[in-house]
């Protein structure tokens, strides 16, 4: 595997084939086959690349490949004078972190592509090819994002996945909510991208390069900004704001629930497993930089855990099955950020990995339910599907247990690692995260209970005669594969306390630390190397085991609560909702955040636009029109003056000379005597005047 760039190129080719030829010509089956083949090949190459990474000699942890110059070298000043050079290559880098993401994207991507061939089978022919074109294009951009060795190549993927998300959310573009949601997603993301770009500018200005590794090394050489806010903190904060857009964190999370308007496989791939984790990945990519800015790390942790808690509470009352999962995704992403914020980069990445399995599984399972119920998404109209969709039920149960943190499923290990690290670092973050874990177990079992338990309601009952049956193999197969992943993925990260080696943490370690320890460790502060404590130190094993038992108890409590409310006493939920009407209303309206944004930012911008358009017409253009009117007025005055005054003078002169000439004409008698007389009179007058005046 010498050419990393081939991995993103394969899905790009698939997208091109489906886009240029497929939409016109391909049968649904062909379009799906092309897309799946492209992804499967990319997965194969990724595995080869991964193997090659493992075979690297000790001490070498990355494969760096530069394809070609993108932005050729141009001089540009940096903070230390005009000697800097801006040069950006099309460069790709495989290191432990990107390798993990690579396998997640291509592996789960392939599974979801297979699932889509069946899920989208009822769409019109051209629509299927269009869908697979977008889906492949998404994978191309996602892989570019993951493999890029500098900020700018990553940004290509970063915005590209945003475009594909826009297109896929709005796949059913005839529906206004779908196209609205797509636009909302794109514009909200752009707000984050604004900050991200500023961060990139500042990175170049500070370090004179945009290469990830170079930036990490240079940042490591700078002092930790523990006491005062410095440039590293500003950079980290700007990047994090970018991450809150892509990964749906406070304050930019509002687009993700709406994004559920897209087809369910899209929700699984883009809005659960891959794209939304890009923000987490980016923070991990810059772990050293973030570690040098402890204040921003705290911000990341707090924003993460608050988002986790907030989204979990909203998920408690949602009735749309996909919206529950969407808020759950927001919540779990918050978990990942909380992990990053407490310096547990490996734990956050580990949770990213396990979450990709179980959340993709849950989304695809919900898709299987929706598919069986001919498009019904309201859980109040579901129920009793356990027997009718046994595979879907069983696999979703696995996913639910995994996300709830029940051992030994994958979610247990990754979530527990985060809780443990949070406990060591910041007790408040830990407490809120533990509370979120309780809520997570509760709302997930609520979802299971409302969908699969009890009697058939609404859509389930309507379809009673038609007997909604289990989905085809192309859908259940991926469910089973993902369920296997949701069970097994945790075993790569068994903590030391349970006798494991926490393999994933050691594997990822090089990605989160600078290779040149320039600053003495004493001043290094809470950087990634502190992570060793989690795996090794036997003194904390007891604590770790205690916390583990606690989180298992918390999960059990959540499950038991949901069982009691939604299975044993089905009327209880309504009673509770009535008793706590005000908080319930707050939650069903998602804390009124959307309403607030609409009322302020959205409508404010629109109103400003309208007002400025009026100003433009009346004032700015009005001035021009005024100037032209003034000119016309001036012309009229001039013309009037011209006619009356200027021309009048000329005419007066003419008139005077004409009229005068009438008088003088009389003198021209032609008689010499008269002339002689006049001469005489004149002479006498002159002489007389002369004599008098003198």
């Amino acid at each position: 595997m010498d050419s990393l760039w081939l991995i993103p190129l394969l899905p790009a080719l698939g997208a091109a084939v489906n886009g240029l030829v497929g939409i016109r010509l391909f049968a649904k089956r062909t379009a799906g086959a092309v897309a799946v083949a492209a992804m499967a090949a990319a997965f194969g190459l990724s595995v080869l690349a991964f193997v090659r990474l493992l075979q690297l000699p000790a001490g070498v942890h990355e494969i760096n490949q530069v394809l070609v110059d993108w932005l050729p070298a141009m001089p540009l000043a940096t903070h230390d004078g005009p000697s800097g050079i801006l040069a950006v290559p099309w460069g790709f880098r495989l290191d432990p972190l990107s390798a993990v993401m690579l396998l997640v994207v291509t592996g789960i991507g392939t599974i979801i592509h297979v699932y889509s061939t069946a899920y989208m089978a009822h769409e019109p022919r051209g629509g299927v090819a269009r869908f697979f074109c977008y889906l492949n294009l998404f994978c191309f951009f996602m892989l570019t994002l993951v493999l890029g060795n500098n900020f700018l190549v990553m940004f290509v993927g970063w915005e590209g996945v945003g475009l594909c998300s826009y297109l896929l959310i709005g796949y059913w573009y005839g529906k206004t909510p779908a196209s609205d949601a797509g636009r909302k997603a794109f514009v909200t993301n752009r707000i984050g991208d604004w900050a991200f770009l500023l961060g990139v500018f500042l990175i170049f200005f500070t370090f004179g390069t945009l290469d990830f590794r170079a930036v990490q090394e240079a940042a490591a050489a700078m002092p930790v900004e523990a006491a005062g806010w410095g440039v590293l903190s500003t950079i980290a904060l700007l990047l994090f704001v970018g991450a809150t857009g892509k990964s749906a964190q406070i304050p930019l999370f509002v687009w993700l629930p709406d994004a559920m308007e897209g087809p369910t496989p899209v929700s699984a791939l883009i809005h659960a497993a891959t794209m939304v984790t890009a923000g987490v990945y980016m923070v991990g990519r810059n772990a050293v930089l973030f570690s040098q800015a402890p204040m921003v790390m705290d911000t990341v942790a707090v924003v993460g855990v608050l988002t986790a808690l907030m989204a979990a509470t909203i998920a408690l009352v949602q009735t749309d099955i996909k919206r529950v999962l969407a808020y759950s995704t927001v919540s779990q992403l918050g978990y990942m950020f909380a992990a990053m914020g407490v310096g547990a980069f490996a734990a956050g990445t580990f949770h990213l990995l396990t979450h990709a399995f179980f959340k993709a599984l849950l989304f695809l399972g919900s898709g299987s339910v929706i598919h069986a119920l001919a498009g019904e998404q309201d859980m109040r109209r579901m129920g009793g599907l356990r027997r009718r969709l046994p595979i879907t039920y069983a696999t979703m149960l696995v996913g639910t247990l995994a996300i709830a943190g029940v051992p030994p499923l994958s979610g247990f290990f990754s979530k527990d690692e985060i809780l443990f690290r949070a406990f060591l670092e910041n007790r408040i973050v830990w407490a809120l995260a533990a509370l979120t874990a309780l809520l997570t177990a509760f709302y997930m079992f609520r979802l299971m209970a409302m969908t699969f338990f009890g009697g058939g309601r609404g859509a389930t009952a309507d379809a009673g005669s038609g007997r909604p049956g289990e989905s085809p193999a192309a859908m259940t197969g991926p469910l089973i594969a993902l369920a296997a992943g949701a069970v097994l993925a945790g075993f790569i990260g068994i903590p030391g306390a349970l006798g494991g080696g926490n393999a994933i943490e050691h594997f990822l370690e090089p990605s989160f630390s600078a290779s040149l320890p320039v600053v003495p460790p004493a001043a290094a502060g809470p950087d990634a190397s502190a992570g060793h404590a989690a795996g090794g130190a036997p003194a904390s094993d007891g604590l770790a085991l205690g916390l583990m038992l606690f989180s298992v108890a918390v999960a059990g409590l959540g499950i038991a609560g949901a069982y009691r409310v939604y299975v044993q006493r089905p009327g209880l939920a309504a009673v509770l909702a009535e008793r706590f009407a005000a908080p319930h209303r707050l939650l069903t309206h998602q804390y009124y955040v959307d309403a607030l944004y609409d009322a302020t930012v959205v409508n404010g911008t629109r109103a400003t636009g309208r007002a400025l358009a009026a100003v433009d017409r009346r004032v700015v253009d009005g001035t021009v029109a005024g100037a032209s009117r003034l000119t016309v007025l001036g012309a009229w005055v001039a013309s009037l003056t011209d006619r009356t005054l200027v021309d009048g003078l000329v005419n007066l002169l003419g008139w005077v000379s004409q009229e005068g000439s009438f008088g003088f004409r009389r003198l021209q008698t032609g008689l010499v005597q008269n002339y002689a007389l006049l001469m005489l009179v004149g002479i006498v007058l002159f002489v007389g005047v002369y004599l008098v005046v003198r």
Partner: protein, 541 residues
């Protein structure tokens, strides 16, 4: 080769002359001749791309003949990297505008094509002229055919818009001429030579007081053309009422005259005044970026919306120049080309549906994705290009501009970058209102998708958008020495040979002080100052 530029310059004029001899009733003959001439004009100019010497800092393909010897005016043409790209943009967009008019224009066909060809010659001349008076003549020559294009073949309010366009820009021209004359006499006073030679002006140190007044005069002339807020209000009217080809030329090429004026004249000839004026002009640019975008958001007319987006984008282009560093200026020039490509394409796209429906009202459309899928795809690509999606051309320009501006002034960059958020908001809103949803207006039901000729006009623009987005190096390389020359005048701290082909390989010592240095991909210099061939990479240079 010595008359190569004249050949390019006069090809359209010869075509216009030829058309004079064709009977006006033979419309299809006229169309064929005009299109053939435009194609020939493009074909003749294309070799420039290959034979232009990107390593030479001098003006190339120069021709110099006495024109009015008594006042020192010459027929003096030549190109550098800036004009190379703009000349090629002009011949390409001229051709596409011509092709797009095939079925759209049914009245006074002969006059229409003559106007287009004369306009083409005027624009080419302005980009090639190295004599200030000659430049001014071409600058004025452009005005007349454009006036007729809007006034005769325009839509409802065409007379108002045409006169407004003409007079507004003429006011600017007159003030520009005053500025030119001030420089001319000042040059004479200090050297004793009557000359309009720009190359001489660019090496001459004008008296600061003269610079100040001349900058102001040139600024007004160029700012109206850009158009920079608050001198922009002629643009929406002119765009709205111009026929499609007129809008395309206006957006793609004519607007570049203003920014070209700054880069060719104001910056290198008046470096001291430039530094004095930069903060004030930058404020106008920042207002323009945000204001243009916000006003675009409120538009109900498809063309007006794109016109205001041009106000916003061109303000960004201007801001890049004001960074006064190589990256900002390079980005600014490239973004002029990008804006020509994407906005030109957007006006062509409006023209396509206008020809079918005869309305530009956004509310009249909706759901076009279903009836015109290919059209919707092309529109999507160009929308993305316009809002600066990475991997397409607009991003490269915006990134370079903003990175350059950031180094010059962080707050400016932060404000200007908000344009990319607002840009996404209004363009995606336009896209949604026209393309998405269901077809509610029965008149849109049977609309024909892009035909072969129409597709042909978009193909080169899409190719260019992707090419510049993925591999802008050939474009940037051709700009390097010309940017250098301007930088040497306005920001001499970058040194005489600012553009780096090679540099010192990072040593262990530099790596110690700056660990990032070890990762810089600098190619080490050979003894001749040229980059050493790198073993193993085999990258074609």
């Amino acid at each position: 080769m010595s008359h190569y530029l004249s050949l390019i310059l006069f090809t359209p004029l010869v075509g216009a002359g030829l058309l004079l001899f064709v009977n006006r009733r033979h419309e299809s003959v006229i169309r064929w001749i005009a299109n053939a001439v435009a194609l020939a004009g493009f074909a003749v100019s294309l070799p420039l791309w290959f034979i232009y010497d990107r390593t030479s800092p001098a003006y190339q393909f120069t021709e110099r003949l006495p024109w009015i010897p008594s006042i020192g005016a010459e027929y003096f043409v030549g190109i550098d990297g800036f004009s190379l790209l703009l000349v090629l943009l002009t011949t390409l967009m001229g051709l596409l505008a011509m092709v797009s008019s095939w079925t759209a224009i049914r009245e006074r066909v002969k006059e229409y094509y003559i106007c287009l060809l004369v306009l083409q010659a005027g624009m080419l001349g302005a980009f090639m002229a190295l004599d200030f008076l000659l430049f001014f003549v071409f600058w004025e020559v452009m005005l007349v055919p454009m006036y007729f294009l809007i006034g005769v073949w325009g839509s409802a309010n065409r007379l108002y818009s045409a006169i407004k366009f003409f007079i507004y820009t003429l006011v600017g021209s007159v003030i520009l001429l005053l500025g030119i004359l001030a420089l001319y006499f000042s040059y004479r006073a200090q050297t004793g030579v009557y000359s309009f030679d720009i190359t001489a002006y660019q090496q001459f140190g004008f008296d600061p007081a003269v610079q100040w007044w001349a900058f102001l005069a040139l600024f007004i002339g160029f700012a109206i053309k850009v158009p920079l807020f608050p001198f922009h209000t002629w643009l929406p009217d002119a765009h709205t009422d111009a026929p499609t080809a007129g809008s395309v030329i206006l957006a793609a090429v004519l607007l570049k005259m203003g920014t070209y004026g700054f880069i060719r004249f104001s910056l290198p000839i008046l470096p001291d005044a430039t530094h004095q004026f930069v903060p004030y002009v930058a404020v106008l640019c920042l207002v323009g970026v945000v204001y243009g975008a916000l006003v675009a958001m409120a538009q109900q007319d498809w063309k007006r919306l794109i016109a205001y987006s041009s106000v916003s984008h061109m303000a960004m282009v201007m801001l890049g120049l004001l960074a006064l560093n190589p990256v900002g200026i390079t980005g600014s020039i490239l973004q002029q080309i990008n804006h020509g490509i994407s906005t030109g394409a957007l006006f062509l796209l409006v023209g396509v549906v206008y020809e079918r429906r005869h309305t530009r009202e956004i509310a009249e459309y909706g759901g076009l994705s279903a009836v015109m899928p290919v059209y919707a795809t092309v529109f999507l690509v160009m929308t993305m290009s316009s809002i600066g999606l990475p991997a397409l051309n607009g991003f490269i320009g915006e990134f370079l501009i903003l990175q350059g501006v950031f180094v010059a002034h962080k707050v400016w960059a932060a404000v200007a970058a908000s344009g990319i958020v607002l840009g996404a908001a209004y363009m995606l809103s336009l896209y949604q209102r026209t393309m998405f949803g269901t077809v509610t207006n029965p008149k849109n039901d049977g609309l024909a998708d892009l035909g072969g000729r129409e597709l042909l006009t978009f193909a080169p623009l899409i190719v260019l958008a992707v090419w510049i987005g993925l591999y802008p190096k050939p474009f940037l390389d051709r700009l390097a020495t010309s940017v250098d020359r301007v930088i040497a005048r306005v920001s001499p701290e970058y040194g005489p040979h600012a553009m780096v082909e090679c540099g010192a390989a990072p040593t262990a010592e530099t790596a110690k002080t700056n660990p990032a240095a070890a990762f810089l991909t600098a190619v080490p210099c050979g003894p001749d100052g040229k980059p050493l061939p790198q073993p193993g990479t085999g990258a074609p240079r």
